[in-house]
């Protein structure tokens, strides 16, 4: 588990992660939202500095503004508050493949330093140790959204030197691997964990720490990462969550918890 120095300052590392992730988003982004931490980050952005952001869930809900976080990508709340809801084939053809998504916001079970993601299998594909859910929308989100943001908690199990299955292609083996595949999208552009913010090195595309969250030291990051961590020469500290950000986040979680209890 990650060292939770952050908790001493009255917010958790998870809260810092969600808030740092939310800050990556802009009001004019059109964001394809993964469930879990990505969904929380996207909605915090919408409820704070990016009120006009367009959130899209793969269930077909476009321009949704849920009052509580959905448990699934297709909760009724998403449709109730959406500008419009389209079929799943249309979602993947006109909207994702059509190049209309600026940000794909994903979680990951297993990631490598080039932002390649495994959500398929631990062990071999044919006789797996642990069968994971699989790719869902992610393989095409990873290649067709303008940029990819990833958010996940750090651990030696989740941040590995070599992923066991390429579910979703990030920067491959780095450098111009994406261009070699004919991809014109940027690929992974930020990784936001409970300890740090990482961005790909402009040349090698290896994830490099650009910001440590308050109270986190480089050794914490390395202790919870399976590859040799590189730090940007100019890395700095993530600004602490503001009172407003924390209030919005906690209110959202509180509303969500109550809603999921009663229904």
């Amino acid at each position: 588990m990650a060292v939770n120095l952050a908790q001493e300052k009255n917010y958790t590392a998870d809260e810092m992660m969600i808030i740092a992730a939310s800050r990556m988003l802009k009001s004019d982004d059109v964001c394809f939202v993964g469930i879990g931490a990505p969904s929380a980050a996207c909605n915090i952005a919408r409820l704070t500095h990016a009120p006009d952001i367009t959130l899209i869930y793969e269930s077909g809900t476009i321009g949704t503004a849920p009052d509580v976080l959905p448990l699934s990508i297709g909760d009724g709340e998403l449709c109730d508050t959406a500008l419009t809801t389209v079929s799943v084939p249309e979602m993947f053809r006109y909207w994702l493949q059509g190049g209309r998504i600026t940000i794909g916001f994903l979680g990951a079970a297993q990631i490598d330093k080039f932002g390649n993601i495994n959500t398929t299998v631990i062990g071999s594909y044919d006789s797996p140790k642990t069968r994971l859910p699989g790719g869902g929308g992610a393989p095409e989100i990873a290649s067709q959204a303008g940029q990819i943001y990833i958010t996940m908690k750090q651990s030696l199990r989740s941040m590995v030197n070599e992923i066991e299955f390429f579910t979703s292609f990030g920067h491959g083996k780095g450098y111009d691997d994406r261009q070699k595949l004919g991809l014109k999208t940027t690929g992974p552009a930020a990784l936001i964990t409970d300890l740090a913010i990482w961005k790909p090195d402009p040349l090698s595309k290896e994830f490099t720490v650009t910001h440590l969250h308050p109270g986190v030291v480089p050794e914490d990051v390395q202790a919870n990462c399976g590859w040799q961590v590189k730090f940007s020469e100019t890395f700095s500290t993530t600004p602490e969550p503001s009172l407003d950000e924390l209030k919005v986040l906690r209110d959202l979680y509180k509303r969500t918890e109550e809603a999921h209890k009663t229904s």
Binding site: I35, E58, S59, G60, T61, P70, L71, S72, I73, G74, D75, G76, L78, C79, D80, T85, V86, S87, V88, P89, M91, F92, R93, L96, Q97, N116, T120, Y125, S127, P128, K129, T130, R131, L132, P133, G134, G135, G136, G137, A138, P139, E140, A142, S143, Q144, F165, F166, T167, S168, F169, G172, D177, R178, L181, G182, L183, H260, K261, T262, S263
Partner: protein, 291 residues
């Protein structure tokens, strides 16, 4: 031509061992009652097709109905993994399960192609993705005009598709509203279809561009209020998120799973679904009246 009948009679009419069957509903309107009716009849060697084989396929696989699964995301949405499906893939329990795995984009395109009587679908996808290496039903094809490499997958054309919808009118025209997912395509791509609905009404009063399956595209309709539980039916009752969370515990252990299935599926009838959503519907109405 839509025949109104009981769900049990519809299942008898369309199902047999070894068929390829799809149950669709993308989080919304998942046909749980139909899955339970099929489980009770103990069909074997089914090829199950579903983009998101969540609880219903965990149950069917755990009960030994399936020998093959075609899918794109096998998780308990928002909760975690599917433990019965894992047990089948990892340990061949209760029987071995062959899998054909795709991405959502591939499955969506394949259903669309199936509904269009196409043998295959082409799209852009799987860039750098390893599924291409483990699934021989993912091929490449080149645009005859630009030479661009594209992906092809076979179309999905199940023998039988089951869906749940909000309403049918008395002629058998079916209305689906809200998150419409892939249900229209599931019915239009299948040889036979069974639709459960929350209610049968005199007339479907809705928007001119709402999703409607005309009566002559549907084979059997059964009125089964609550048939989506613990999934939901927009306008009728909310998703029972607690049941999804609870499933993670129930499915964790083989014996607990089996006991639960005996008690809640094998010894039940379709009527139970109306009771299961009673509290959800009431809650929804009271929430609505607050606004």
């Amino acid at each position: 031509m839509a025949n109104f009948t009981s769900l049990e009679k519809a299942v008898d009419a369309v199902m047999s061992d070894g068929v390829c069957v799809a149950f669709e509903g993308f989080t919304h309107l998942i046909p749980h009652a139909s899955a339970h009716a099929v489980i009770r009849k103990e069909y074997r060697n089914l090829t199950l097709v579903r983009m998101t084989p969540d609880i219903i396929y965990d149950q069917m696989i755990g009960m030994g109905c399936a020998s093959k699964l075609i899918f794109s995301y096998a998780g308990n949405p928002g909760v975690g993994l599917l433990r019965r499906l894992r047990d089948a893939i990892e340990n061949q329990w209760p029987v071995a399960l062959e899998i054909e795995e795709h991405s959502h984009a591939a499955m969506a395109n394949a259903y669309e192609a199936g509904a269009s009587s196409m043998p295959c679908a082409i799209f852009k996808g799987y860039a750098g993705a390893e599924l291409k290496q483990v699934n021989q039903n993912i091929k490449t094809i080149h645009c005859p005009f630009t030479g661009e490499e594209l992906v092809a997958v076979p179309s999905i054309q199940p023998d039988v598709s089951f869906i749940h919808a909000q309403k049918a009118d008395k002629k058998g025209n079916v209305l689906i509203e809200g998150i419409i997912g892939i249900q229209k395509e599931a019915v239009l791509s299948a040889t036979k279809s069974v639709v459960t609905v929350e209610e049968v009404v005199d007339e479907l009063k809705t928007h001119p561009n709402a999703v409607i399956l005309p009566h002559w595209t549907v084979d059997y309709i059964a009125e089964v209020p609550g048939a989506a539980h613990p999934s939901y039916a927009q306008g009728y009752y909310d998703r029972d998120n607690a049941a999804y969370i609870e499933w993670d515990q129930i499915s964790a252990d083989r014996t607990r799973f089996q006991n639960w299935m005996v008690e809640n599926v094998m010894q039940q009838t379709t009527d139970i679904f109306a009771k299961r959503v009673g509290f959800l519907a009431k809650d929804k109405l009271s929430k609505k009246s607050e606004h």
